[in-house]
């Protein structure tokens, strides 16, 4: 009896948690899903144009970073304006979960499937299933390792190009010493792979020394801070911090602050960050970060445009990269920062 009761309790709890989770995840997009479908069926014969385009989006994490928040918001707003129905699910750091979520969306027969993969690999089966079901497969944010025939289009950041921008900038600075600390992101994510590769290649080509190169689990600010503090304590000399996101750059700065090491525009250590969140641009403006390379999160409008083209049976460019800028503390202005929405 007791056992039964406890089982019931646990089940109830799990169910309520799952229920909460789903509600939170999709409330922005699908509060009236059933409503719409019912209506759609009723009016199908009369007017097919009323049927909304359903787009399934496999997002990474709900609150991974400010960047991700802006990214999610961009989807919600752009899709809402375009009159698409958005089914967004979150992998919450779990690659396998993302894959099953994608398969679920294919089962639900969405019209388009947009994937922002936590990992670059392992998507072949999903892409094949989508292809068989006749659902266009669109990669966004991070490029996945798929052969060209398996996806319809992509709206991705070229992470290696981002890294190369930073490397070129560093080359132009012509520093006397180039001892570089690389704070990598989650091992195996395409952003980490691309940005790390750019710096590793750049260092080889220019004869720079990489004194530290490790990936921080979860792009974590605290881990980055502790790693830099450890380097300082053990007497490792470095002149450049190459942090693969804004948060890790901030963590590194914290560690240098605590040890009295100067950095930034007028300091001994140059700080390079990625993503270019608004708060990070403020740091660039204040001269704390030397360079922040943008990683554009505003995928929503681009994907809307892409889908509209596909709906109109127009041809689309398969491998389109998002335009991305970089912000140098020497040239940044207050206007640029103020214009930043995220």
């Amino acid at each position: 009896m007791k056992k039964l009761f406890s089982l019931f309790l646990v089940l109830a709890l799990v169910l309520s948690l799952v229920a909460c989770g789903t509600k939170a995840d999709t409330s922005t997009s699908s509060d009236n899903t059933t409503d719409t479908t019912d209506k759609a069926e009723e009016t199908k014969a009369a007017d097919t144009a009323d049927v909304k385009v359903v787009v399934g989006v496999v997002q990474t994490n709900a609150n991974e970073s400010d960047w991700r928040t802006a990214n999610t918001k961009s989807f919600n707003e752009a899709f809402g304006d375009a009159g698409f129905e958005l089914k967004m699910v979150f992998g919450e750091g779990d690659h396998a979960k993302q894959i099953s979520q994608a398969q679920q969306l294919i089962q639900e027969e969405v019209d388009y499937l947009v994937v922002l993969g936590l990992q670059a690999t392992g998507w072949e089966d999903v892409a094949k299933a989508a292809k068989e079901a006749g659902i266009p497969f669109i990669m966004a944010d991070r490029k996945l390792e798929l052969s060209e025939d398996l996806y319809t289009a992509m709206v991705c950041s070229d992470f290696e190009a981002e890294g190369v921008k930073a490397v070129d900038w560093l080359k132009k600075q012509a520093l006397a010493v180039n001892k570089i600390v690389v704070l990598g992101g989650d091992t195996g994510s395409s952003a980490q792979l691309g940005r790390s590769k750019a710096m590793e290649d750049g260092a080889k080509a220019n004869g720079w020394e990489i004194v530290f190169n490790q990936n921080m689990k979860g792009w974590d600010e605290t881990l980055a801070k502790q790693a830099v503090a450890d380097l300082i304590a053990s007497g490792t000399q470095f002149s450049v911090i190459y942090a693969e996101n804004d948060n890790m750059a901030r963590g590194a700065c914290d560690a240098m602050d605590a040890a009295g090491i100067t950095y930034g525009k007028d300091g001994d250590v140059k700080v390079i960050a990625f993503d270019a969140n608004k708060w990070a641009l403020e740091k660039v403006l204040a001269g704390q970060f030397n360079l922040d390379v943008e990683c554009n999160p505003l995928h929503g409008p681009r994907i809307v445009e892409l889908i509209n083209k596909l709906e109109a049976k127009e041809t689309v460019e398969k491998n389109a990269y998002v335009n991305e800028e970089m912000f140098d503390s020497a040239t940044i202005t207050k206007e640029i920062v103020d214009a930043r929405s995220y």
Partner: protein
């Protein structure tokens, strides 16, 4: 005569060594010492602690040892709670990383409200600390009820919060990623003007309180009694369910304090990545401390030393700039060695060897 004395010395040395090797703290301390030695060997200035100044000019202590002591704070505090839970419930709580996330989420929400870049704190830090601890205790109590009242295995019971905790943490923050005002950072960094990192002081406080509690209450006796034989304990007037519940609540309090320190370190919390995989490090620390993960007797000092050992290892892998892909392998190999050497089989082999050398030394003396 001198020869004889030498023999006597070896004899005495051997017996001292034997007694030492039998001591329950021998292996945990030997390994910490071993790791520190390797570090000193690679980097002779490893143990050096210097007084520097931070960017605002306040004096601060800088050194690898300080970093290890500082960064081990969460690990040590969580290990204290985990040791008690392991002893009483004969299992481990795997939800602590996720519940730290919940605590962090609550603290950030209390301090920042709905703002992302608040210039001042929305509530006194003490309130945040208390609410954070309360959240931790609530999680501990939830796990404790499942384990003690409904007799669910600890790992299964805590799997629930393990799975859901980080999402709950995210919800607690209302989906925002705020950074609290700088004054909140004192608890995870330095109090301006005082050169010792605050987390070290918090750890010392936690250890002192723990040892005091173990000495001045029957927590230790009751926990062990229940962990070894709960039937007999209940016939001796103890309430095993209550004591198991109590240890989970204590772990919950530890989670609250650890979450507070952790979120103060960079004054922001990423619920999905805060203290990644810390539950594994904590369980390992308990094992390294010479505790059976099957419950019963426990060795609190051993656990704490175990936690510092793991932090030393982590720090060592950073300062040696081990290739990222090789880090888990490195850790795994060292862990295999650490755990294998503590198995009864190898332990008895070691003792036998010492005994043998002792015997030969004794035989030599007789002949001389």
């Amino acid at each position: 005569m001198t020869r004889n004395n030498n023999k006597l010395d070896t004899d005495r040395f051997a017996s001292v060594l034997k007694a030492l090797s039998r001591h329950r703290m021998f292996i945990p301390i030997a390994f910490l010492a071993f790791l520190l030695l390797i570090n000193v060997f690679i980097n002779p200035s490893f143990l050096r602690v210097s007084l520097g100044r931070d960017s605002t000019g306040s004096p601060v202590l800088i050194g690898n040892l300080i970093n290890i002591l500082n960064n081990a704070t969460e690990l040590v505090i969580l290990t204290i709670g985990m040791t008690l839970v392991t002893a009483s419930s004969r299992g481990q709580d795997i939800s602590i990383g996720a519940t730290v996330s919940i605590v962090g989420g609550v603290i950030m929400r209390v301090l920042c409200g709905n703002e992302t870049q608040p210039t001042q704190l929305h509530a006194p830090i003490l309130v945040a600390l208390l609410l954070g601890c309360l959240a931790g205790i609530a999680c501990g109590a939830f796990n404790g009820i499942l384990v003690s009242k409904f007799n669910i295995q600890p790992m299964v019971a805590t799997l629930i919060l393990f799975t859901a905790g980080r999402s709950i943490g995210s919800m607690a923050m209302g989906g925002l990623k705020p950074k609290a005002a700088a004054s909140f950072g004192y608890y995870g960094n330095f109090i301006p003007g005082f050169p010792v990192p605050t987390p070290i002081l918090i750890t010392i406080g936690a250890i002192v309180v723990t040892l005091f509690a173990l000495k001045r209450t029957n927590l230790s006796l009751y926990t062990r009694a229940v962990g070894i034989n709960d039937k007999a304990s209940s016939l001796n007037g103890l309430n095993p369910a209550l004591i198991k519940f109590l240890t989970f609540v204590i772990l919950g309090l530890c989670v609250g304090i650890a979450g507070f320190v952790q979120s103060s370190r960079v004054q922001t919390v990423n619920p999905y990545t805060i203290v990644p995989s810390i539950e594994m490090d904590v369980i390992l620390a308990v094992a390294l401390g010479g505790n059976s993960l099957g419950g019963g007797k426990f060795n609190m000092t051993g656990s704490i030393v175990g936690a510092y050992t793991i932090q030393t290892l982590t720090s060592m892998l950073t300062t040696l700039n081990v290739n990222t892909n090789a880090v888990p392998v490195f850790k795994a190999v060292i862990i295999i060695i650490l755990v294998a050497i503590q198995t009864p089989m190898l332990k008895s082999l070691f003792v036998k060897k010492v005994t043998l050398s002792n015997l030969t030394a004794g035989a030599g003396k007789e002949r001389g």
